[in-house]
């Protein structure tokens, strides 16, 4: 329906004199409240700007960020989402779930540098014709002030880009080689034992790759092959990726996890993608992994202690049952990704927009970010769905903006920050910052940190009646 050109005509912005320019605003409204409210505005002969094109959906709960992306992509200058007041939803809770979603993708749109004056949310009941007229008037004024949207999927004309500040030096040195070799030895012995005893049918661990220093995932099925296993500061892959989705392994699996991987595992358990009884979780007390020759950014704030959920702990001193502290007291520092996010957030929106458009322009849509993510386990990814084709297939600014936005958004409240997507990205996109930005929003709004608990559900699959809604008219 939204692909119909009469709904979303491209705005011939350049041809229209600026003072007479009327923005094109797509208003996506719920059938039961706001649509009826707009009807009320009409029957009571209220006057308001003719700038909105209405799109009626059953409920705010049906409103997806895909609608918003599509509207901007097809030339809308602003988007307004509107539905029933909390408590009035025809489907009882639709708008309460929606409120959390709106909050998270609003934060992401803002971080991507979309002018905040272009995206609005309101509650307008069937009786509030006057409120509808006021909301449309206010939103139109805001979008008018922001001007025509020209830069969607395009590089900044002047080519100037903000440079992210370099991270501070890491809080601790690179892991001691002796400790790593000791860990490797204990891992081999433990895994061999688990395989021999039949506690697991396969072990997921690491072994040396063909390039110097590289470690690659290893799937070991025979006890005598356990000697292939190894450990170093190059054990990057989040092996939990092999537990869900198309690559899912069958049977009893022993899996070697770092602290970050253990959080991903918790998330998969929470989302019922894997059965705990099928897993033997071997936590390595992880001194950190290296990105090039320096401690990876994700490791700065992590002390590497194994998660409580681990069945075994592997320390340089030996392997022990249960989750055991290392006593290593590794030095930690503030998460350097947060400082970079802070830097970008303080920039004027247009500069932030230029930064991300340049990033997205470099994207080649290899979907490695999706492939390495433990949480991207959908059988058919949204980008592969073609009826309708929500994400443009073209490998250009337009398609890449939609893809990278929606990938990050689908991880809202789920991403544990293993940063694998960023590490493997051949184009060097800072996907970690997008993920982390939403994670911080989840923490701030809902006091939720993904992967730390298996209780309850992800925050976007839940709601509180009094969730903050300071951004809603």
């Amino acid at each position: 329906m939204v692909t119909r050109p009469s709904v979303l005509p491209a705005m011939p912005a350049a041809a229209v004199p600026a003072q007479d320019w009327q923005p094109t605003i797509v208003a996506i409204v719920c059938n039961w409240c706001t649509y009826a409210g707009a009807d009320m505005a009409g029957t009571t002969r209220l006057v308001y700007p003719a700038s909105v094109r209405m799109l009626r959906v059953p409920c705010t709960g049906r409103m997806s960020p895909l609608f918003v992306l599509r509207a901007f992509e097809r030339g809308a200058d602003g988007v307004l989402l509107s539905g029933c007041h909390p408590g009035d939803c025809h489907y009882v809770h639709g708008n309460l779930y929606a409120r959390r979603r709106f909050a998270s993708f609003r934060a992401l749109l803002d971080f991507m540098g979309l002018d905040a004056r272009r995206f609005h949310v309101s509650w307008v009941s069937a009786a509030e014709g006057a409120k509808w007229a006021k909301v449309v008037t206010d939103v139109t004024a805001a979008v008018r002030a922001a001007g025509p949207l020209k830069g969607w999927g395009r590089l900044a004309a002047d080519g100037k880009l903000p440079w992210l500040p370099a991270p501070p030096p890491p809080p601790r040195g690179t892991p001691a080689a002796g400790d790593q070799q000791a860990i490797a030895g204990h891992l081999r012995a433990l895994c061999q034992q688990l395989l021999e005893q039949g506690k697991v049918q396969q072990v997921l661990g690491y072994r040396p790759g063909t390039l110097p220093g590289r470690m690659v995932p290893a799937l070991i099925g025979r006890p005598e092959d356990a000697k292939l296993l190894d450990w170093s500061d190059q054990c990057h892959t989040d092996l939990a990726v092999y537990l869900a989705g198309a690559q899912r392994l069958a049977g009893k699996i022993g899996i070697v996890v770092k602290a970050c991987d253990a959080r991903a595992l918790n998330g998969l358990l929470q989302e019922a993608q894997v059965r705990r009884e099928d897993l033997t979780v071997i936590g390595v007390s992880c001194p950190g992994v290296l990105d090039a020759s320096s401690l990876a950014l994700k490791c700065y704030a992590c002390d590497g202690e194994v998660a409580a959920s681990c069945d075994y702990t592997v320390l340089p001193a030996g392997a022990q049952p249960g989750a055991v502290g290392s006593g290593a007291r590794r030095a930690v520092a503030a998460d350097p990704r947060d400082a970079q996010i802070e830097f970008l957030s303080r920039l004027p929106a247009a500069e932030r927009w230029a930064f991300w458009q340049a990033q997205f322009d470099a994207c080649i849509r290899c979907y490695a970010c999706r492939a390495v993510c433990p949480y991207c386990y959908c059988g058919t990814c949204i980008t592969e769905k073609s009826q309708p084709q929500w994400i443009p297939t073209t490998i250009d600014g337009k398609g890449n903006t939609a893809w990278n936005f929606i990938r990050a958004y689908h991880l809202a409240g789920r991403c544990v920050g293993c940063d694998e997507c960023s590490r493997v990205c051949p184009a060097g996109l800072r996907l970690d910052l997008l993920n982390r930005r939403i994670a911080l929003e989840m923490e701030r709004r809902f006091d939720y940190r993904a992967g730390e608990t298996m209780d309850g559900g992800p925050p976007l699959a839940a709601f509180q009646p009094d969730d903050p809604q300071e951004f809603i008219y």
């Binding site: 692909t3 119909r4 050109p5 790759g209 063909t210 390039l211 110097p212 590289r214 470690m215 690659v216 995932p217 290893a218 799937l219 892959t237 990726v241 092999y242 198309a246 690559q247 340049a358 990033q359 470099a362 080649i364 849509r365 290899c366 979907y367 490695a368 999706r370 492939a371 390495v372 592969e384 084709q389 443009p392 297939t393 073209t394 490998i395 250009d396 398609g399 694998e420 590490r423 493997v424 051949p426 184009a427 060097g428």
Partner: protein, 346 residues
Amino acid sequence: MDKAGWRLDRTQAEAWLADLLRAGRSVYAPVERNGMRAFGAVVAPGDVTFAEGKTRFSPKEHVFPRTEVLFRYQLDNAGVTLSDPPPDTAERVLFAVRPCDAAGLVRLDGVLADDPFYAARRERTVVVTLGCDEPAPECFCTAVDGAPHGTEGSDVELLPAPDGILVRPLTPKGQALTSISAAGWPAASAQDWEQAAERGRTAAAAILRQPVAKEWAARLESNFESPTWSGIGERCLGCSICAYVCPSCSCFDVQDEGGASCGERCRNWDACSFRQFTAHASGHNPRGDQPARYRQRLLHKFGYYPARGSGQWMCVGCGRCVTLCPVGIDIHEAVRVVMAAQPEKR
């Protein structure tokens, strides 16, 4: 042996680039972009980084773009109107292309030469190669009939020399490019070329990977059902880094983008590692898992094409897929593993 040609220092090389830009050529060369080296449009000659190994991506996107519009359609009261995209008439120079990447362009020609969009772009492209004196650990050009100083697909050969580069045109296209600036260039001596060739031999000797033997092409294919494939491909996660960074991968998908009243038919890169690449509308997928898809990739490069086509490997040994694979799958190693497996009984 007299190869003639010239010996330029950095200033003279930059002056040549400046002349090319002034002559209206679109020059693409290794430049720093987004914190990595890539083949980008040269704005100022000083941007070009000469001898620092390979770029992150191969230059193939400048002749075979990630996405290109094949035609546009419009539907109104007058009916359907189809229109061609504006023709790409840029006179391109791909500058400081590594010999492996230039060989990759020749492989692309083998598949895409009859495509009018590709052919038009390729026709107006001059390839200036820069010999490679510093092979990286992932490099294996010598294993697939290439060489660090190879000239396959090259119009102008550049070789690194102390404090400069040696230049000589190899084709009429290349001649046209050097003649723009060559009037005042100092000639290179036979000794210059010999010393450069010696560095090339040293570089080749530094590549330790074993050659892939010609007769393996047919034997790889006869190992189609070998259980070895699952061991190789089981850790593949199904992204397409390998195909998209590959100088010789040429697969694409055709998609319509737009709505009922107007839109475009686009050609986008595609890759055999994707599940959807071979998914049928019925739900059946003849390549049902990643090992099967990885087998396709390997056999395409080392089996089907060499055995039935030009006799050339479809892999040029640049090693990008080895470095950038998220899980470290090594195509050269995979060939070796399959060959080491017991041949199937037929």
